[in-house]
């Protein structure tokens, strides 16, 4: 076990039993929660794979369908021996809308993921305008800078990213992005706050409510898969978490990454 992973295990241990009882559903202002546990997925067995026909939002119970040939796979040991959804770069899941889906105000997004080495630029998920003009945001792994980032589309492209570090190391990671103000963000990776950089001006995009997990939409608009890797959780809140709530969420997600 490398030093970084050992430290993360120690942080989990120090957190004690209180955090182990925490669930993301304990926090208010819920958007959606994708959980790759099979209790929340409906699959079709296509030897030897399990294709994700639909998934159930753990916050609301709402069911969202997969999409034909673009369905990703359920993998029982995809992230550190635990459940995950595998996206091959052409797969995606769509959320046509959820309450507060436009994410124009403050928000918090947490994710647990694993990327193969040298994966390039790949979108965890996107939140885009339903109709014209084509604009919105991509929450992605930036293959050039090698970090999770947010990318604004439409009226010019701008990114807001972590400091330079490599996370496409085929290891499990957790990350949290918090929109704390109109153009300000906090980033956390593996439970630790990380220096951020870059700017996005005019972050608010009305009606950017069409969410694509593991993909994005082109100007067509055509929905396409863009993510190559594994995801076990995406959890979205419609406010900026801080303090104990953020700490609990960070420990919970990193615990999922560590298995």
């Amino acid at each position: 076990m490398d030093r970084q992973l050992w430290r993360r295990f120690q942080l989990q241990k120090e957190a004690g039993s209180r955090s182990s009882k925490f669930r993301p559903s304990d926090l208010p202002s819920q958007g959606f929660w994708l959980d790759a546990h099979p209790d929340f997925l409906s699959t079709t067995f296509s030897d030897p794979d399990y294709l994700v026909d639909s998934w159930t939002d753990r916050f609301t119970g709402e069911v969202f369908a997969g999409s034909g040939a673009a369905r990703p796979k359920y993998v029982s040991e995809g992230i550190n021996g635990h459940h995950a959804i595998q996206f091959d770069g052409s797969d995606y899941l769509e959320v046509v809308s959820f309450a507060g889906a436009d994410l124009v105000d403050l928000w918090t997004i947490g994710m647990v993921w694993r990327l193969p080495t040298e994966t390039g630029t790949t979108q965890f998920f996107s939140n885009l305008r339903i109709g014209a003009p084509w604009e919105g945001y991509r929450y992605q792994y930036d293959g050039t800078g090698e970090y999770p980032s947010i990318r604004k589309l439409g009226s010019g492209y701008a990114s807001y990213a972590l400091d330079s570090a490599t996370y496409d190391d085929d290891a499990p990671h957790s990350s949290i992005m918090v929109k704390t103000g109109t153009t300000t963000f906090d980033f956390y990776v593996d439970g630790v706050k990380t220096t951020s950089g870059g700017t996005i001006t005019d972050f608010n995009t009305e009606q950017a409510g069409y969410t694509v997990i593991g993909g994005s939409r082109s100007t067509g608009p055509t929905t396409v898969g863009t993510y190559t890797g594994y995801i076990s959780d995406i959890v979205v809140y419609k406010d900026a978490k801080s303090g104990q709530a953020l700490n609990d969420l960070a420990l919970y997600l990193d615990g999922r990454a560590l298995g």
Binding site: A69, A70, S90, P116, S218, V224, T228
Partner: protein, 97 residues
């Protein structure tokens, strides 16, 4: 076992229609745009599929479309195979944002 499939833009609709015959409801199999430069216009489209993958592949092969390429793909062993194969075909995913 999955199959990675690539087809040229002129053969895309024919190939998609054939896939739909074999696997009704599968939707467009060839939908991710590609080009040599990574910019529009798209010259090819690709997709990795698992359901009825070998049957769909065999049916499209029978059409003898000149631009059709396919590769067996164990995604659990090498999830990056698509990236590598597309590179070997001198094709890049088009990213328009």
């Amino acid at each position: 076992m999955s199959v990675l499939m690539v087809v040229g833009k002129d053969d895309k609709d024919t190939a998609n229609a054939e896939a739909e015959k074999i696997c009704p409801g599968i939707g467009d199999v060839f939908q991710v745009p590609l080009s040599a430069t990574g910019k529009y216009p798209a010259t090819h489209y690709w997709m990795g599929i698992s359901e009825h993958a070998t049957a769909v592949r065999a049916a499209i092969k029978k059409l003898k479309l000149p631009s059709f390429r396919s590769f067996l793909w164990n995604t659990n062993k090498d999830i990056r195979l698509a990236q590598k194969k597309l590179k070997s075909l001198n094709l890049k995913r088009i990213e328009d944002g």
